[in-house]
Symmetry: D2
Subunit: 136 residues, 4 copies
Amino acid sequence: MKPISYTNLFEIRVRFADVDPMGVAYYAHYLRWFEIGRTEFLRQLGIPYKEVEKSGVSYPVTEVKVKYSAPVVYDELIKIRTWLGFIKKASLKMEYEIVNADTDEFHAEGYTIHAAVEGGGKIVRISDRLLSLLAE
Amino acid sequence: MKPISYTNLFEIRVRFADVDPMGVAYYAHYLRWFEIGRTEFLRQLGIPYKEVEKSGVSYPVTEVKVKYSAPVVYDELIKIRTWLGFIKKASLKMEYEIVNADTDEFHAEGYTIHAAVEGGGKIVRISDRLLSLLAE
Amino acid sequence: MKPISYTNLFEIRVRFADVDPMGVAYYAHYLRWFEIGRTEFLRQLGIPYKEVEKSGVSYPVTEVKVKYSAPVVYDELIKIRTWLGFIKKASLKMEYEIVNADTDEFHAEGYTIHAAVEGGGKIVRISDRLLSLLAE
Amino acid sequence: MKPISYTNLFEIRVRFADVDPMGVAYYAHYLRWFEIGRTEFLRQLGIPYKEVEKSGVSYPVTEVKVKYSAPVVYDELIKIRTWLGFIKKASLKMEYEIVNADTDEFHAEGYTIHAAVEGGGKIVRISDRLLSLLAE
């Protein structure tokens, strides 16, 4: 199910802080990893999210889904795979996979959908710059 | 879309720790609220999750979905509504809504699906006690 | 070591999300509890922190210390005791104790020191209103 | 105030999840960074904490202190400096500094004190292997 388009890979280690009493990563931390994935995806494209926000438009998550297959354990080095699912006039979808960084063992997959929103909360069109960069 | 069956209500206040630079609750915190919701749902049924686990069977999340409608702000008192979506032989679904505790303004909805798993990670049948309590 | 002055008491339950693989609350969560303690301390005095910030002055933490005595376990109901340590022209100290809500078993104690800071980051005097309310 | 002894350096980026409504890293996240610092310090010495724990002795934090000098902002790349403060028969102290990874701008410093504890919670002597490795 690997995407044809551009995929960002980012490695991160699972910390004590992330792990629950069952010895595996708490299920909410995957959303933090997704955030890291899409931030690094944008950075690699040359558009740090910090700059995106300076344009006055932010991209809050309107929907998230995660399917957990195999638990991630303490001190494991994981790899976040991130790619663009779709991009429309006022929304975009990012897709993610969490795998072991060494063995590529599959742990989880998911997506986030984002709306383009102005400061006041009004939904707007995605900026042309972002559109053209992501559409490539 | 309110359930006919039993619904647990639990109020909690949004803290500085939960809020991101946009002044709204970070999207991963909703999963923490869902955890609180289903824990209190079980407690009100008379089966604290702590005891469920002592039986040797745990119920890890295999899937989660959240749809975010309106942002939750700092110091807001929210209400978590939790009910049982379905229960099968080896899995169950919990459903959630996040609303403002005073005005019932709708913020988000979502669900978690859980598998019944033994210590070793083997999928097992949901215990009869839990089944009968939840099936009521 | 209980204070003579006004003390706020606030109860909160320890969640799965807060607990590490050793089955006890992760050490950083105590700082979240301290935040909750001082926020509720201010609210009970009639000055929600939300309003304090609207005045243009915020009170970031410049120093924190925690001494951990006995671990806090999953699903435990704890009580946060919060009181004012000292208040000076441009800084104040809050003190905290974490105990079991039912048995008063002692878990941890600590403090935070806060500076009064304007939007731009300049250290300023604590507002007269806050001073007079806290000095009582 | 740099140590004469061995110092571990580890870089990490500040995420949206770490930042509060004031646009700066929430004060509890520094404790997570300290955890990362001491874990990487041990790994570089050839003793991953995962293995330390397998020996049946763990090293919970009994005391933590942080002094915050200058705020850490969103997307900043920080460097965690970690070194051994002292080691005694049943306790040890780790020291930390948080600085900007590019400019070395100083952000915060702190320490953690750890006790050697057996499974049951009994305080024990630090293992000879750890002692000899850290004493070098």
